[in-house]
Amino acid sequence: MNFPILSVITFLPFAAAIIMLMMPANRKTEVRGVALATAALDLLLAGWVYLQYLLGHLTGYQFIETYNWLPALGISLKFGVDGMSAPLVLLTGIVMFTGVLISWGDFDEERHLSAGIQDRPREFFAFLFLLAGGVFGVFVSLDLFMLFFFYEIAVFPMYLLISIWGWVKTREYAAMKLTLYLFIGSVVALVGALVMYWTQYQNTGILSFDMIQMESAGFSASFQYIWFLPVFLGFAVLGGIWPFHNWSPDGHVAAPTAVSMFHAGVLMKLGAFAALRVGIMLLPEGAKQWAWLIMIFAGVAVVYGAFIAFVQTDLKYMIGFSSVSHMGLVVLGVSTLNHDGLVGAGVQMFSHGVMTALFFAITGMIYDRSHTRQIPELGGMMKALPFAGFGFIIGGLVSMGMPGFSGFVAEFPIFMGVWGRQWLVAVIASISIIITATYIMIAIRRVFFGPMPEKLEGHISPITALDKIAIFTLCSCMVLIGIFPAVMVPMVETGVENILRLLGGA
């Protein structure tokens, strides 16, 4: 038996959460140290898995581990990654690591500075790590029951994290809205999953939640036609699909910085990923039938999110709606069901995750110092926080799909794929490119290059070295993929080939 690396990655955050809760509450530095060490270790392990997969030119599901859990019902703890999920595991590691870094913050009573998480860091990191463990679990689970189990674990701590550490004005509303949307979505999907489980038993006599097994469960075309939409949309709610997206910008805004990073960076991927893995891979015939509807929803989301982001004055709302638009591109790529579109969607999940995490991190740094996120009330940040400024500009370039950055590597195949299916959708979706460039440029011009308002003068203290490490880590991912797409694209392709095989080589 090999080293059970995926279980270690998944359960390490849970273990760390328990350890932290047992530490004394006033040992803030030690708690943060444990959190950082755990996150770093998890990132290293995730990176190791990624590199093994990439450099070994592996295909299919790898690093498989199976432990029986409830054999009578066919539930087992089955872990494994493929070309689609390995980048997302790495992404989670990156966001977790950088999220801890920027939450460390800076506290100085004399300068009235309280950046990062200064209030009850022990509980904060414990909940954050529960969330992280759940996210890892979803990405590596090959068992449908376990996927749901981890999915709910990932969603639940969000409520606490937002309603305790969130922005005072909207946190209760946002936390409740988010919880309602996500649980309703997952309940709908759960019903679908149970029906699939039962139908498989009727068809084949096998009682199992194993998804690889379910791929050959022989669901009839009419069954798939009926159940595809509930399953896909149920999960896609978490992916921020239009018109079920509204929980997400409110949630982003209310959440504390590290949670926003997790929320937009990883959690939304969870929805898209689960929709892909359960909806499309297990019900491929249904996917073909309904692809047109998903394409319309996604196409609307892309443009719609961009339009709303364009008029936001709150930096976090702007990024939140831009996430709706960019996640729309992911779903749009998925809805093409062709090679280019799916590859683009896979890369876009990673690219967008890193990019939004970066945006939220920098917005948090600015907010902690200026106590406002209103774009018109900000200015002159380029001089005060040059490192953050360059980071934000790089993120902006990724966001508008500039070649040489990961956003282009992701969006270009998506547009090619969409053009192959329906050129009109490609044309309409491309409107978003212009609008995205507009709001990003206007925000950068105002916040970083505009004149600094007088009341901020002298209050913007520099960011810490840990903040810089976080910004650097995130930026280098986006540039690396932009210049050498071969570090990610071939891997995603192996995952896509598996999906295409299930779709019947379409």
Binding site: L180, Y181, N246, Y304, A426, M441, R445
Partner: protein
């Protein structure tokens, strides 16, 4: 070194310089500009070596220098990226290398290297001068190093675009330049006008870019490749030109070409996306020269020239133009005359040049639309030289005027307004003579200047191939070009100084004037490589090398035009006539009030900015702010959620009030409690506490139960 390796290396030095300056040398101004100019020199050297080797190859068009590597995996194959030097890119590389190097050197002087730091200068604003030895002298640019970093990155984009062998890396270079253009136009970001101009430029070109990206997607979808030499094979072009696209009755080739061409409309500031270029003059003058004359705007024309085989698929010399070509020719010719009319009424020395650039680019676009391939390339190159010269010259004039402004201390005088100048020929002789050469080249002064040969070739092509409308339009535009150029020269250099500041203007240092001299050599000499074979007297003295060389890029060498007197005479008349008239009208004019061409319609650029504001920007803002955000998102979608809240509450209270309280609570809950209570209450009297009573009761119960058990169970 192998030529292919060398080509790969050409774009790299400037981008290395960018990183070196940003990361290490940005505190040291001398080191920063040395790094940048050193890098520009290395790229120049590489380009010259490649160019010399390229012209030594016979049939370079058939056997170009090319090499490629795998970049983006796409299923079974890879999207390759690579480099290609064929005659077209060799010719373009030549002028890019020269102009870029000259602009880098010029920037040293323009940003006042060697001068003290300003008294009140701030990063993000132009320098305001410093006090030294009791005098006000020019002060050095506060963000000197950053400027060189940005133009390094910009040069990288341009070189990448030129040496690319495919549309993907062309697009990469294209976007890098767009970004640098944004950064450089907004270089003095402390000025609101510069910030707005930067965003405007970026957005307007971005609109074109999106169409271009769609064109690239469509092309890739249709052919499976983005490499020029794979697209421009006879079969591929034939297939593309015979498949209908389903849009406006165009063939697939036509639609792709038009989509790509819209990218050019944005980048080369053609009508109707021309609005950004004049505002882009907010940037420092070397930027105007670099981006808005020599390189970035030329890149747009270069792209459409590159795509000529696609644009003209299904067309052959002498046949009627395809719909796509007609569209291109129309946009070009219209822009040429449209922008020329605006240039006549501008008073800012750089804005005149900006509109003249738009107009000249229109000439090239019109040429390529008529199928005059070689003429378009020729004019592209000569224009790059003389327009870079003119922009740098205007920068030199402004710089000299700023000197005068510092001297008098009257900062209300606009050093860019031509009516504040006059008589500068005596103060700034080098600038004057080189500007004159550039201006005459732009006007097409006969025989001597490069502009004459290239413009004449476009006019001749239009006339001989029977495109009379285009011919007349371009001829009028050429006349106006000569007119406004002479107006500019007269107002700036001739006559007497009209202000004190102009009297105290000064010639600039050699770092600024030497590039002017070098460029003026090309503004004259470059025309001689392309003298038509059948031109009277001069033709045939030297072979028309340019036609042979650049024409070789195409699958078939374009035929040599027969000679015709009409276009030649037209060229002569419009150039000389326009110049004379310009001098005659403006030689005695002292103030804008006397200028008859200050027509509000022209002065305000046909109100395009205002019209766009009302037609696009306001409705777009309304759409996103009110329609999408307020009505759809907050109105419909959120209200549905908010209905759930009250609805759930409503259901809850209904259940509570009508079922929970009356039925569950009162009937079952309270009811059962009441019953229990009642029973308890009625049983209470028997709890007396007397042992005897209990005993009696027990005996009674025992005997009754015992009797029942006996009779019913045991007896049965």
């Amino acid at each position: 070194m192998a030529t292919e390796t060398l080509i790969w290396l050409i774009p790299l030095p400037p981008v290395l310089a960018f990183f070196l300056i940003v990361l290490f040398t940005n505190k040291n101004k001398a080191l920063s500009h040395s790094v940048a100019i050193g890098a520009a020199f290395l790229s120049w050297l590489g380009s010259m070596i490649v160019f010399v080797r390229a012209i030594g190859v016979e049939h370079l068009g058939k056997q170009p220098f090319a090499s490629s590597i795998n970049w983006l995996p796409t299923g079974d194959t890879w999207l390759k990226i690579g480099v290609l030097i064929d005659p077209l890119s060799a010719a373009v590389l030549f002028f890019v290398a020269w102009t870029v190097l000259m602009i880098f050197i010029y920037s040293v002087g323009y940003h006042n290297y060697g001068q003290p730091a300003g008294d009140h200068d701030q990063a993000g604003l132009p320098p305001h001068g410093a006090t030294a030895h009791g005098h006000t002298v020019p002060s050095i640019e506060p963000m000197y190093s950053r400027f060189f970093a940005f133009i390094g990155l910009f040069a990288f984009g341009m070189y990448t675009l030129v040496v690319s062998d495919n549309l993907l890396t062309l697009f990469v270079g294209w976007e890098i330049m767009g970004l640098c253009s944004y950064l450089l136009i907004g270089f003095w970001y402390g000025k609101p006008s510069a910030r707005n101009a930067a965003v405007k430029a970026f957005m307007t070109t971005r609109i074109g870019d999106v169409f271009m990206l769609l064109g690239i997607s469509f092309l890739y979808y249709a052919t499976g490749t983005l490499t020029y030499r794979e697209i421009f094979t006879e079969e591929t072009l034939h297939v593309l030109s015979s498949v209908p696209s389903g849009v406006f009755g165009l063939s697939a080739a036509g639609l792709i070409a038009i989509l790509l061409f819209i990218g050019t409309i944005g980048k080369s500031a053609q009508f109707p996306l021309h609005v950004w270029l004049p505002d882009a003059m907010e940037g420092p003058t070397p930027v105007s020269a670099m981006i808005h004359a020599a390189t970035m705007v030329s890149a747009g024309v270069y792209a459409v020239i590159r795509m000529f085989p696609l644009l003209s698929a299904g067309w052959h010399e002498g046949a009627a133009l395809t719909p796509a070509m007609t569209f291109v020719a129309f946009i070009g010719a219209f822009t040429a005359i449209f922008a020329a009319t605006i240039a006549v009424a501008q008073n800012d020395i750089k804005r005149v040049l900006a509109y003249s650039t738009i107009s000249q680019l229109g000439f090239m676009i019109a040429a390529i639309g008529m199928g005059a391939y070689v003429a378009a390339v020729f004019h592209l190159i000569t224009h790059a030289f003389f327009k870079a010269l003119l922009f740098l010259g205007s920068g030199s004039v402004i710089h000299g005027m700023e000197h005068g402004v510092l001297h008098t201390g009257n900062h209300k005088v606009d050093p860019q307004d031509m009516f504040n100048m006059g008589g500068l020929r005596k103060k700034m002789p080098v600038t004057f003579w080189t500007f004159l050469i550039g201006g005459f080249a732009l006007s097409g002064f006969p025989l001597v200047t490069a502009g004459f040969w290239s413009k004449d070739e476009i006019l001749a092509d239009a006339f001989i191939n029977g495109h009379l409308t285009i011919f007349i339009t371009l001829a009028i535009a050429a006349f106006m070009t000569a007119f406004y150029t002479m107006r500019q020269i007269t107002l700036t250099f001739l006559g007497e100084a009209r202000t004190k500041e102009a009297e105290h203007a000064q010639e600039n240092k050699w770092t600024m004037t030497a590039p002017l001299v070098v460029l003026s050599v090309f503004a004259i000499g470059y025309g001689w490589v392309g003298i038509p074979e059948h031109f009277p007297l001069l033709g045939g003295l030297a072979p028309n090398w340019f036609h042979e060389f650049v024409g070789g890029t195409l699958a078939e060498l374009p035929p040599v035009l027969a000679f015709n007197w009409i276009p030649l005479l037209t060229s002569l008349v419009v150039a000389l006539g326009g110049l004379s008239l310009g001098w005659y009208v403006y030689k005695d004019i002292k103030s804008p009030a006397e200028d008859k061409f200050q027509i509000p319609l022209l002065k305000n650029k046909y109100y395009f900015d205002e019209a766009y504001e009302y037609l696009f920007i306001k409705p777009l803002t309304w759409f996103s702010e009110v329609f999408v955000s307020k009505w759809m998102d907050k109105g419909i979608i959120d209200s549905i959620l908010h209905i759930f809240g009250p609805a759930t509450g409503g259901i809850g209270s209904t259940i509570r009030n009508y079922f929970d309280i009356p039925v569950v609570n009162q009937f079952f809950g309270d009811g059962s409690a009441d019953v229990t209570y009642w029973i308890g209450k009625n049983l209470r009297p028997i709890q007396t506490g007397h042992i005897q009573q209990y005993l009696i009761l027990s005996i009674v119960v025992l005997s009754v139960v015992g009797g029942l058990v006996y009779f019913f169970l045991l007896a049965a």
